[in-house]
């Protein structure tokens, strides 16, 4: 039996030293609050008075509340437009960029909205979409074509596409840059070989480029779905969901219940429903990827 080597004992101590700050932060600011949120979701509390244990009442209240159901549906609807629309557009632009000389300027321009804060993005788009027939978009279309467009930000039906368009506009550049980096890793001789074998551009895209790009697309898809479900800033500033229930998402409900009505239990329960929804949808995507995503061995 030999004693433990000195370096090993020292290493264990070093591991503690190196890990300490982030581990402490993780426990205090992420794991702790998550546990606290789970406990809170079974309670009724306004932050000041006594806490009351209410079991599953918060979840029951949310799941039977038509307002919350609408918020879930709005969240899903915004994701269903934003995610596929954003990814397809980014893919098309990246393919176009990949095929031209002199792409630096385009890359830079497409990225400008990404470095702009979502508050500024929303404030600017409010000036474009708002204002009814005096607004620049609706007014100009009315003048030129005689067509009356809906009030994008006030109409509960049309606010969803409006949110989707602004969201896509603001995040498109990031996805284009990522797809472009993915395209750059595809060996040119593979595409050349496909051409020599008689494949047209469409077939090359389907059989060579897309399969090789699929890990990048999958990664971007997962991230886009998560950020779409958790979107708050842009919607909240652009629309003011207080006055338009078409723009009330799950995250809005979390904020409203928590910091307007100070019903911390109900707010936490709504946030946990969002977390579970995110986890389920992400898990489904990971399951489905086996059939669509092609990893090089």
């Amino acid at each position: 039996m030999s004693a433990e080597p000195l370096w090993r004992r020292r290493d264990r101590r070093w591991a503690v030293v190196f890990l300490a700050p982030q581990l402490l932060g993780l426990l205090v600011f992420l794991v702790g609050p998550l546990g606290f949120a789970i406990v809170l979701s079974f309670m009724e509390w306004d932050g000041l008075g006594d806490t009351t244990w209410v079991g599953l009442d918060n979840f029951r209240a949310l799941l039977t509340d038509p307002g919350f159901g609408r918020a879930v549906w709005n969240t899903v609807k915004i994701g269903l437009i934003t995610v596929p629309g954003g990814l397809v557009l980014a893919l098309l632009l990246a393919l176009a960029l990949h095929g031209v000389r002199g792409r630096t300027a385009y890359r830079v321009i497409y990225f400008l909205p990404v470095v702009t804060s979502s508050v500024a993005v929303s404030v600017i788009w409010q000036m474009i979409l708002g204002g009814g027939s005096d607004g620049i978009l609706n007014g100009t279309v009315q003048d030129l074509f005689g067509v009356t467009l809906p009030s994008w930000l006030e109409d509960p039906t049309w606010v969803v596409p409006a949110i989707a368009v602004v969201t896509i506009w603001s995040s498109l550049g990031l996805n284009v840059v990522i797809f472009l980096a993915g395209l750059a890793t595809i060996p040119a001789n593979l595409i050349e070989a496909a051409r020599i074998d008689g494949a047209g551009p469409w077939q090359t895209l389907r059989s060579v480029i897309l399969p090789l790009l699929s890990p990048t697309v999958f990664f971007t898809l997962v991230v886009s779905v998560i950020s779409s479900f958790q979107a708050f800033d842009l919607i909240y500033v652009l629309v003011n969901p207080d006055h338009n229930e078409g723009a009330q998402t799950i995250v809005y409900k979390v904020y409203q219940q928590g910091f307007r009505e100070f019903r911390f239990g109900l707010s936490s329960a709504a946030a946990l429903i969002l977390l579970v929804l995110t986890l389920v949808v992400t898990a489904v995507q990971f399951k489905a990827q086996k059939r669509f995503v092609h990893y090089e061995s």
């Binding site: 070093w14 591991a15 600011f29 031209v100 804060s117 990031l174 958790q230 910091f259 911390f264 946030a271």
Partner: protein
């Protein structure tokens, strides 16, 4: 044939570029318009007359210099602390063998999935107990705990040759010296990438400042713009546009200066700050 294709592609890309640029152009044009023009000819594209008075008017009304200082130092502290502590933890996971390393790293990965909306209420209660609500520490401290930073930097540290470390150890260097003298200088691209992501996330952050700050003097840039817009927006677009321009344009210029590094970083990490 290829020539025609080039023209077609450039046409598509230019159209996309114009759509991307239009809101910025509209913001700039509007910022030079006066109230009377806005009422009399709301659909006019160009300001007439051009007036720059909106800018000093806004500067008189809101403490934008202070908001810039707030946003700047919050982002700087957050970036520095995140890079330093993130690299430390990443080094432990990448290079120091210890029992439970795998599961602990798994915990870091798993917490990445927890959205801010789940932790916001408990954080608020906790920070209120610590008397930190309505202070910048309420924004900085939670932001430093960043599992993504640990994950990203671990990838970069794993690519540093072990031989470099071994050589230093033979020369008598301990773990800390190795980390400081060998690891950090060798993961500069990773630190840049993470630094840019964390800076953008902090600079553009809105949800936490909205919940945690009440005093206008403590406001960050996005919060200042939002509060001005919700009080005055829709009344005088010129002022709102001028304030937007003053918050947006410096960032755009900074991006243009560092575009090569920023775009390459974002492309390689494959992940944005939001």
């Amino acid at each position: 044939m290829t020539h025609r294709r080039q023209i077609l592609l450039h046409a598509v890309l230019t159209l996309g570029g114009l759509i991307t640029l239009f809101p910025f152009v509209w913001m700039m044009l509007t910022s030079f318009k006066g109230v009377s023009q806005m009422i009399n000819e709301p659909l006019a594209w160009l300001p007439s007359p051009w007036r720059s008075q909106n800018y000093p008017d806004v500067l008189d009304e809101v403490p934008i210099g202070r908001a810039y200082w707030n946003s700047m130092y919050i982002a700087a502290v957050t970036v520095a602390a995140t890079l330093f502590t993130g690299a430390m933890a990443a080094y432990a996971f990448a290079r120091i063998p210890f029992r439970g390393s795998g599961p602990l790293f798994g915990l870091f990965l798993a917490t990445q999935m927890v959205p801010a909306q789940v932790t916001i209420v408990p954080l608020y209660i906790m920070l209120a107990k610590l008397q930190l609500i309505d202070s910048h520490l309420a924004l900085i401290l939670p932001a430093i705990a960043n599992p993504f930073a640990v994950f990203l930097l671990r990838q970069f540290i794993r690519a540093v040759p072990v031989e470099l470390e071994d050589a230093a150890r033979i020369d008598g260097a301990n773990r800390w010296t190795i980390f400081w003298r060998i690891i950090l200088p060798n993961i500069r691209p990773g630190l840049w990438t993470l630094g840019i992501i964390v800076f953008l996330a902090s600079w553009n952050s809105y949800f936490f400042p909205l919940v945690f700050l009440n005093t206008p003097d403590l406001f960050t840039i996005p919060l200042l713009l939002d509060s001005f817009n919700s009080q005055r927006g829709g009344v005088d677009y010129g002022l709102t546009a001028a304030l937007s321009a003053m918050t947006v344009v410096p960032m755009l210029i900074a991006f243009l200066i560092g575009q090569r590094r920023i775009l390459n970083s974002m492309a390689s990490s494959g992940l944005g700050g939001r």
